[in-house]
Every structure is written in C-alpha cells, then in structure tokens.
C-alpha cells in the first residue's frame, strides 16, 4: 500500500505552481466494494492502479451495513457488511495499489492531450486519450492520469422530494441510509417512534435495526402490492419483531411544523394513486424513506459518458466500457444491485477489462476484445425494465443483466431480433427485487449478425401457466 501523503509534500512555490500529477494505468473512482474489486482485478494482471475514495476509510456504504447477508455467493459463507468489506480492504492494503483517501474527485477530463501519459506503459494503446482525474483532499489538489478509469462511485438514495410527498418540512424525515449512518456510525439516535416508507431491503433492515436500538417502528408502508425486499429480510426483520407491513399504502402527508408529529398514510388503487377518503394519521417523530437508489453519475456525465435513462447508469458494452473509450463502470453507479456479491463479480470484470485496455493487450480480456463488424444494441422488451450491457461489440458468451418491472409467477426470457425469436429461456418466476442475469450464447449473437440485425431485444414475457 502507498498513500500520497508523503508524495504530496508540496513545494513552497505558491499558487502559480501547477497541480501535481501522478500517472497510473488504471484510476478507480470509489473505494467501496465495486472500486476495491475492480482495483484488485486490475492489479492482479499487472496494472499500476490507484483508488480515489472520499472517506478516510475504504469500504464505502458497507461500513454502515452491519447486518449479515453478505458473501453467500462470493465467500460461500454469511458475512456482515463490514466483514465483507474488511476482506477486500485487507487485500488492497497488502497490495501496492495507491490510495487517495479523504479525496473528492472534482472532474474527469478525457480530452486528448489533456495530459501526458506514463512513458513506461506507452505501448500498444496507439493514440488513445489519457484521462485526467482532478481531486482534492486536505493536502491539496492533485491530478491522477490513467489510461483507463473505472467509475465505481455507487449510488445515492431517492429523496422525499423526488417522490413528492406533500405536507410540511420538519426535522425527522430521513433517508434510510442517513438514519443508518446516525445509528451505526455516529452513535446518535435519530428518533423514538418511526414510520418506514418502502419495503426494499434497506427499509426492512432499518426496521429491525431501529427496533433493536429501542426506536419503536410503527409500521413499514409499501406503495406496491408486494414487498420489495428479499424474503429473508421480510421474515428476519419484520416477522421476527411483529412489525406490520402495509402493502398498497403510502405516505401522503408529513405533519408537524418543527419535528415530525405524524404522517398521513393512504391506501392506493391499482394505478398507485391514493384513494381519497381512507387517509389515516399515524403518530410518529421520525419518517424513514427507503424509496429507491439512484446511480451517482454526475462525474460520469461531466466526463461525457452517455447514460441509459432506464438504469440512470452508463450505457456500456460487454466489457463494461462506457461510450468514452477507456472509461469503465461497475457496481451501483452502473445499475443498482441488490447483492454486494454481484457487485464484486461485475467489478472484477470491469477492473480486468480496464487493465487490459490500459496495458494494450488482449490477455485476460476475453469478452472485451471487439470484433470488427459486431455492433449490436440491446434493449429491454416485455416486462424487462432494462438490459445491460446496452451494446455488444464481440461475438462471445455475454452476461446480460436485467430486472423485471413487476413480479410474475411464470415468464420466460426471449432474445428477439425484429420479429425473429433467437432464443427462449425456460419458464420460471421473476420478481423486481432480484437483479437477474442471463448468459447470452455467442451463437445467438452471431445469428443476429448473420441475419443483418444491428439491434436485439431482451424480452421477458409472461406465459399462461399450463
């Protein structure tokens, strides 16, 4: 491990001095599970890697996700969030991956000639642009250049304003993650009597966490007619403590001038619109919102990366490369995951692909090598809410991720090109709370190309049960 603290001793030349620059093969933005996995994967194949993390510690949001449920697929054992993170932190610390902690990235400049590259690795990449990442920390401004950049900034929580809950604006309305931070990191009790809106995993976990810490949870309210979190969380977080889950019900008004005094809840109809006349006032001093996550892509947009309006993450190809050559994305900044293990798997792919790009060799970048003539866009159809990657540039087995928009007991995945069905999966249930993955065989891609298509659709179509 190296830190910049020693490297960053600034000369006394003053303000006119140019910002100090460090050159890397791969610069990873974000030191959470995605960033660490990407950095380790890139490092493993010999890339010179830096991680930029805005907190003083690595681990990202996992540091406050103290509950179990992590690692079941990656480590084959159930870990807490901090344990899952610590295992990666230990690996990063044992490596010579450079760390810029307490550092905030202000921008990524990918324009050609933005900066000079590292002459040691100046081979095989031709005239590819070098990316300059400008960051700030308590020790000053710094610029890191990378032949490749991995975006791993994670996501933020949807706010009260975005879901437009009317009423007053008192203290006591918190996103679930902020309340989690108060309780698990800051050692502060955010209230005594809480209502939770949203039955996603964070909402469910916080219901248990509040209860254990002596904050009574009046109920969990869910707009949809089904719970949005994993079943294990409904069972272990609500059922274990007798916390009621109110489906098809939402908060329609916040009451209280200075501090929350109550919330008004209403049942909703099949169009999710509140049904007038059945409002109920639930006294409480705290409203926790677990109403969705949004990839935090302001930096990406600033770097010229195109976003998919469905995921609100970057449009990527099969190697997780964005539309800007050399910029890759993974984890929750790309699309919101429900399991950290999936973030790790995806980020390892992004890290390896970024390293392969930076080092200018194809070894270890199997799916990353573009085939001339292969230009397919992938779009969702049926009840699939999105499909990722949105672009395929290589004829190789490709992992497609998607999420359905509503739960169904019986549906199948179909790959369509125009009216042609190229592939049909087996009939099975799907639910929106689970990110699905589907291996797209190389021969299906080849078939689409042979038929002259430039676009395929991943369609999830409900079927009548036999």
């Amino acid at each position: 491990m190296a830190t910049f603290d020693s490297l960053n001793g600034r000369a006394d030349a003053g303000a006119t001095e140019a910002v100090q620059t460090q050159a890397f093969d791969v610069v990873v933005i974000g030191g959470g599970p995605a960033g660490m996995a990407a950095a380790l994967a890139a490092h493993k194949v010999g890339a010179h890697v830096a991680i930029v993390e805005r907190e003083q510690h690595l681990g990202g949001i996992l540091r406050q996700c103290i509950h179990p449920g992590f690692g079941l697929s990656h480590f084959k054992q159930e870990l807490t969030g901090p344990e899952y993170a610590q295992r990666f932190i230990d690996q990063v610390r044992a490596s010579d991956i450079a760390l810029s902690l307490g550092s905030m990235v202000l921008g990524i400049d990918s324009s050609e000639g933005a900066c000079v590259g590292d002459p040691d690795t100046d081979e095989g990449t031709g005239d590819a642009a070098v990316h300059t990442v400008t960051l700030m920390s308590r020790t000053g401004m710094l610029q890191l250049t990378g032949r490749a950049v991995v975006l791993a900034m994670g996501c933020r929580e949807r706010t009260r304003s975005e879901i437009k809950i009317p009423g007053s604006r008192p203290a006591g309305v918190f996103t679930a993650g902020l309340a989690q931070r108060y309780i698990n990191i800051e050692n502060l009790k955010p209230g005594s009597r809480a209502v939770i809106l949203g039955s996603g995993d964070i909402g469910l976990i916080m219901a248990r966490r509040c209860t254990l810490e002596g904050i009574s949870v009046e109920g969990v309210y869910e707009l949809m007619p089904y719970a949005n979190g994993l079943r294990r969380n409904v069972k272990n977080c609500l059922d274990d403590f007798g916390i009621p889950l109110h489906l098809s019900t939402t908060v329609t008004r916040v009451i209280g001038h200075d501090r929350v005094e109550a919330v008004e809840v209403s049942r909703v109809d099949e169009h999710l619109a509140p049904i007038p006349g059945n409002e109920r006032v639930v006294p409480c001093d705290t409203l926790l919102l677990s109403v969705g996550l949004i990839p935090e892509n302001e930096l990406s947009v600033g770097a010229g990366v195109e976003l998919d309006p469905r995921t609100r993450g970057a449009v990527v190809d099969q190697s997780l490369q964005t539309g800007v050559p050399g910029i890759f994305a993974c984890g929750n900044v790309l699309h919101v995951h429900d399991l950290a293990d999936n973030v790790t798997t995806e980020s390892e792919r992004a890290g390896a692909a970024a390293a392969a790009y930076a080092l200018g060799c194809s070894a270890g970048a199997d799916a990353g090598t573009a085939d001339p003539g292969c230009q397919l866009t992938v779009s969702p159809a049926g009840i699939a809410g999105y499909a990722l990657p949105g672009r395929i540039t290589a004829v190789a087995l490709t992992k497609l991720n998607f999420r359905v928009r509503r739960p169904v007991d019986a549906a199948r995945v179909r790959i369509l090109a125009g009216d042609e069905e190229l592939f049909a999966g087996k009939v099975r249930p799907f639910k929106p709370s689970l990110m699905e993955s589907f291996p797209l065989p190389a021969k299906v891609i080849q078939r689409a190309l042979d038929l002259g298509f430039s676009e395929i659709a991943l369609s999830v179509d409900p079927v009548e049960e036999a």
Binding site: I66, P68, T80, E83, Q86, E186, L212, N236, D239, D240
Partner: protein
C-alpha cells in the same frame, strides 16, 4: 385424550439465497407449544428441513449490532455473534451491550465479549478499528 392441533405453516428458508418456500405441518399441544414437526415440504436441500425444525422449536439468528469504542478513529465498532444465538435472547443482549465500551485498536474477529449470555457463543468484531490519529 389428545387435544393437540395440527397446523400448516408457510415460511421461507433463509439458509441460502434460494429462499425456498417451506410448507410445514406442525403438531401443537393445548398451550400452543410445538409437540412435533410432522412434515416439511418445498425445500430443495436437506438444510431446509433442518431449518424448519429449528425455526419451530427455537429460532436462531446471528445478532449484529454495535458497541462504543474509545480511542478509535470511529465511534462505533460493528459486532456480531460468531454463530446464531436464540432470537429470544437478542433483546437481552442489546441491553447488555448498551453500556459496553471497547478500546481501539481492534481487528476483525477479535472477541469483544466471550460466551454471550451463556450461549457459548462469542461476540466478535466485524471490522478493524485503528487508533484515532492526532488531529493536524
């Protein structure tokens, strides 16, 4: 004469991400106590059967929470029970841990409190916490 009742329950197995929906037939005595788990269906592996029996006799959960830290670069240390403990003990454990303060530095896996509430299970650290750095 037996007044025992037979009841059919449905719940999800939480042993692995498959989350099989179990259908469990259970015999209870007049007080509602479980006499026998008669059948378990819906599980796709033997762990589901074991889980159902445990769940109906004495549900076990890993408890995760925090304890206060002194001299650390974080105020709280995330902790867990090394193994699941009876769910019924969680509230008591929380009360016990409220006043506990541990000293930094701490490494993941360090035993924070041995033999929590005579369960034979240790409370262990979930994460490293370093000593607080002197402010510059």
């Amino acid at each position: 004469m037996s007044t025992n009742a037979i009841e059919t329950l449905q719940f999800n197995c939480t042993t692995c991400p498959s989350e099989c929906l179990l259908t469990v037939e259970v015999e209870r005595d007049a007080d509602g106590a479980v006499v026998e788990v008669r059948s378990v269906a819906g599980n796709s592996c033997p762990r589901g059967d074991k889980f159902a029996h445990q769940e109906l006799t004495c549900p076990m959960r890993v408890l995760t929470t925090t304890v206060a830290v002194s001299g650390g670069d974080e105020a709280l240390l995330p902790v867990r029970t090394a193994e699941a403990i009876p769910l019924a003990l969680h509230a008591q454990a929380m009360a016990l841990l409220r006043g506990l303060v541990v000293k930094a530095p701490i490494r993941m896996g360090d035993v924070v409190l041995p033999d929590l509430l005579n369960t034979n299970i240790n409370l262990i650290a979930s994460m490293d916490i370093d000593r607080a750095q002197v402010a510059n």
